[in-house]
Symmetry: C2
Subunit: 545 residues, 2 copies
């Protein structure tokens, strides 16, 4: 593996640990916990892993431990820092007993089911310290939710003498980690399961989890690019840049990037939904801002758009839901492609037909024609950034005729996602992830299962970070998924009364009209601490800093 100069220099970085994890730990247990919702349902589903206390580690006495074999799985989309979770876990179990072994299951949860694994030795781990990506063992999207999978899993876990499994994933993967923990506990198989909170989307957070790992690095990478585009925008003064940012369900990424870069416009899906805005309302909102800047002679600007926006517009959400139903019938599947649009139009409600007809033709056809293998509308294929800019251009044309706008409107489009998911972790994510992994080894050594590894107080210097564990059941409630009620970890959307959004809302009129761009620049690993060791602005605001 040929390495870049930065990768070589960066491999020597020793991530910081909370003080409590720097020596032997003692386990301070809190009171029994309840789930965030549907307590009796969750309790019934998780009799062995419900109600456990929140745990905090503090300095303890040195104990002798037998070697412990641990398995690790990367689940779902990549996020910066995954390799550091694994290296922290490796160093953690080796510090417990140097004869401990770490096994990595290949290409995600499927590796456990299919018995594909490698032993992660020191040589391998050292190649991946502080690097981005999940390529050390690969990731995958197989869902662990069926008993036969759990049983296939236990065979290989026993064969390898694995006593604990660490699953690194988002809300769904951690939910499944808990289901697995419960299953193995109920069967008394003697295998513990620990989760780690991963997702660049930032929507896996709550009272106990400050942030999911990777959110920091991904947002900083996107902000670097947005800042660069804003410099260009402010130099050339001739384009409006429409920039879509990854993140289907929550707008945390767009909001954090807005806080870092101060663009002219940032749409927040949760607000669009809350205000019951139509697509036309969104378009008008942008067009008005463009017109206002044009009045000052500024025919340029930047617009941040969360990838999931279109699904949050209530009218379109309803339309998509009905389209999914209408097009799922056996009858619909027999309709010739060139007749599908007519079929759709004659089979949806009057209200949805009106919305359907209001969409630009190509978007309407895409909604009616392109389906994923499950027969669902492929919302992710819609180029929202282009859709909006074209509709804004039309709107401005009308405003011009009505004497409400006088300017030029030329656009550029961007979509950032893959550019940031595998960036090498920032110091924050490198430290946070290493601590999460190291901390998981302490949860394991203390016999815990059904817990998520947590590190708190992360806007303070790393030494002051608080390490511990939270029962996964504590974060659960019941939600409808594919028509069935299921126990799931509640997703954290942007809260409109939360500090980050409120700060943004207090500034945006100013940022919208005047050029207030900030240029964060690329992630720095070696410079002064105010440049290299900062958390996201979202987290600072949430913690009142």
């Amino acid at each position: 593996m040929e390495k870049s100069a930065l990768q070589i220099a960066r491999s020597a970085y020793q991530p910081k640990l909370p003080k409590a994890l720097q020596g032997p730990v003692a386990c301070k247990e809190g009171k029994p916990t309840e789930s965030v919702g549907n307590q009796s349902d969750i309790k019934k589903l998780f009799p062995n892993t419900y109600g456990m206390p929140v745990i905090e580690f503090e300095a303890g006495e040195k104990k002798d431990f037998a070697p412990i074999n641990v398995g690790v799985i990367l689940s779902g989309g990549q996020a910066p820092g995954g390799h550091n979770v694994i290296s922290g876990l490796f160093d953690g179990i080796k510090s417990i007993n140097p004869d401990s072994k770490l096994y990595g299951f290949i290409l995600g949860p499927g590796g456990l089911v299919d018995h594909k694994y490698i032993e992660l030795t020191a040589d391998i781990i050292d190649e991946y310290r502080n690097t981005g990506g999940f390529d050390i063992i690969g990731s995958g999207r197989t869902k662990l939710e069926e008993e036969w999978q759990f049983e296939k899993g236990i065979t290989i876990l026993r064969e390898l003498g694995i006593k604990a499994l660490v699953i690194i994933g988002g809300d769904d993967s951690n939910t499944n980690a808990c289901v697995l923990a419960e299953y193995y506990a109920a069967k008394e198989y003697g295998v513990q399961v620990i989760g780690c909170p991963k997702t660049i989307d930032g929507d896996l957070k709550n009272e106990q989890i400050e942030t999911s790992f990777g959110f920091d690095t991904a947002c900083k990478t996107y902000s670097e690019l947005i800042g660069n585009i804003q410099r260009d925008c402010n130099s050339a003064r001739k384009y409006w840049h429409f920039i879509k940012l990854m993140g289907r369900s929550a707008s945390h990424i767009a909001l954090e990037c807005a806080l870092q870069c101060q663009p002219n416009i940032c749409l927040v899906s949760e607000e669009v939904e809350e205000k019951n805005m139509s697509l036309d309302d969104v378009v008008k909102y942008i067009a008005d801002a463009v017109a206002l800047r044009a009045a000052d002679g500024n025919n340029y600007g930047t617009v941040l758009i969360p990838e999931g926006l279109i699904e949050f517009i209530p009218a379109i959400k309803k339309l998509i839901a009905e389209l999914n139903d209408v097009l799922a019938t056996p009858e619909a599947k027999e309709i010739a492609r060139n007749k599908q649009i007519d079929y759709v139009k004659s089979h949806i409600s009057e209200e949805n037909l009106k919305v359907f007809n209001s969409l630009p033709t190509d978007v309407a056809s895409q909604l009616a024609l392109d389906r994923d293998p499950h027969g669902n509308v492929q919302v992710s294929l819609i180029e929202t950034e282009k859709l909006l800019s074209h509709m804004v251009a039309d709107k401005l044309e009308k405003m011009k005729k009505a004497g409400q706008y006088d300017g030029k409107f030329a656009t550029q489009h961007h979509f950032f996602g893959y550019e940031g998911r595998c960036a090498a972790p920032s110091n924050y994510d490198a430290d946070y992830c290493y601590s999460l992994g190291f901390n998981a080894s302490r949860l394991i050594a203390n016999g815990k299962t059904g817990y998520m590894s947590i590190i708190k107080n992360t806007t303070a210097p790393a030494a002051e970070w608080i390490a511990g564990g939270v029962p996964i059941t504590m974060m659960m409630n019941m939600e409808k998924r594919n028509g069935k009620m299921k126990p799931v970890i509640r997703k954290a959307l942007v809260e409109l009364d939360g500090a980050p959004f409120k700060y943004f809302a207090s500034k945006r009129a100013n940022w919208g009209r005047y050029t207030s761009y900030v240029y964060p620049g690329p992630i720095q690993y070696f410079g002064p601490t105010e440049v290299c060791d900062q958390s996201t602005i979202t987290l600072k605001l949430e913690q009142g800093k």
Copy 2:
């Protein structure tokens, strides 16, 4: 202006200067020069600025200079480091005499003609040191080529007591700088004109100019992103990423990014032209590489595509040329939009019709319908990355039926341009640009006009860099532009027998088949020198390093 933490920290960076510029200079003059081609034509057009010697500065004796007022213009597309050229120039003229003044013309060459300017004082300069963008005075694309513009210019230059004008631009802007220098010299207006070599495309280089500024930073920024995508690609193992890179005429950016990142495929326009490849040949080349990796079980990879590719495919180049002619006639302009494709088909040669019919429908319509204000085909609107990936998918489908391919082919598309043009300059570009600007002040103090500021030996430590000037006429030849022969600086395309391409060519079979990705990571400003202070690989290979 609110600043990011990095911007604040970075503003304190003191760019390095060549040793010869660190004190008083003496001017060592070489022999009279000739232009690279059409010597007699160029000599006739530039009687006052032809044949001057190449200049090298060396340590000299301290002299007293009167204050000197200088004007500066940013011309054309943004490139990282423009602000450092200006701050170097500012520090340079102030070191000559603290009462010297620097004026910036606003929004490009048009500012000179329209008399829009600001005085660039120390306060302003200090806000922009080591930052990206051209926003200090803005840039523009007005071409300075008419006498009335030169005359308008001299009025304001006289009014402000400006004795020298520095034009920061690409090949065209430097050609025009020389025309202006010649004009003012012929008229004995007493205003010197000095050029600075700018363009991220890297195609302004020759025996005298090692590299144009901004190329280093832009390529490093794109390589960061390509590396991140490759990590993702190698972790998820399910997509082929088609990545288009800015650069219409030369493929230097794509080639440099390939040298930095080792993707599976990198297309080089100059090679496509040289080998007389058809679009189908290019598609087949990619499809074969995809099939080869699929045979090893690797259904993922990366393809780098230079923005200008399509125009280098000889058959398409011919087609575009004929389309431009055919559609430029008054008759053609009267044809209704829905009849234009038929019109085109019945008016182009049989050979071009064959090529036209071989194109995907949407690309064919785009070529036939969408025109720029000058009536030309808008090649830059063609999404070459999507065009190629769709055609590769079709080709693979056929190969699958013929038993020549067995795999999955899913794609993602990216286009990087605006993301890198205004990045804050790397240490290399920060030093190089500052030196270019500072050096320009020495050319001015030595009474030179029609020169370009040059800094050489830049793969060595900055102290060993060589500073001087090259007569712009020396780089010129006559070329046809818009039907007329004009004196122009010869563009530097990728040389297929040059060291960078030859190195790439020797490696690409291996990179194509096996996963050999390198992950350069983001530009670092504060770390170890092997990370922070490197030139491009292109330049190192060109200099045999």
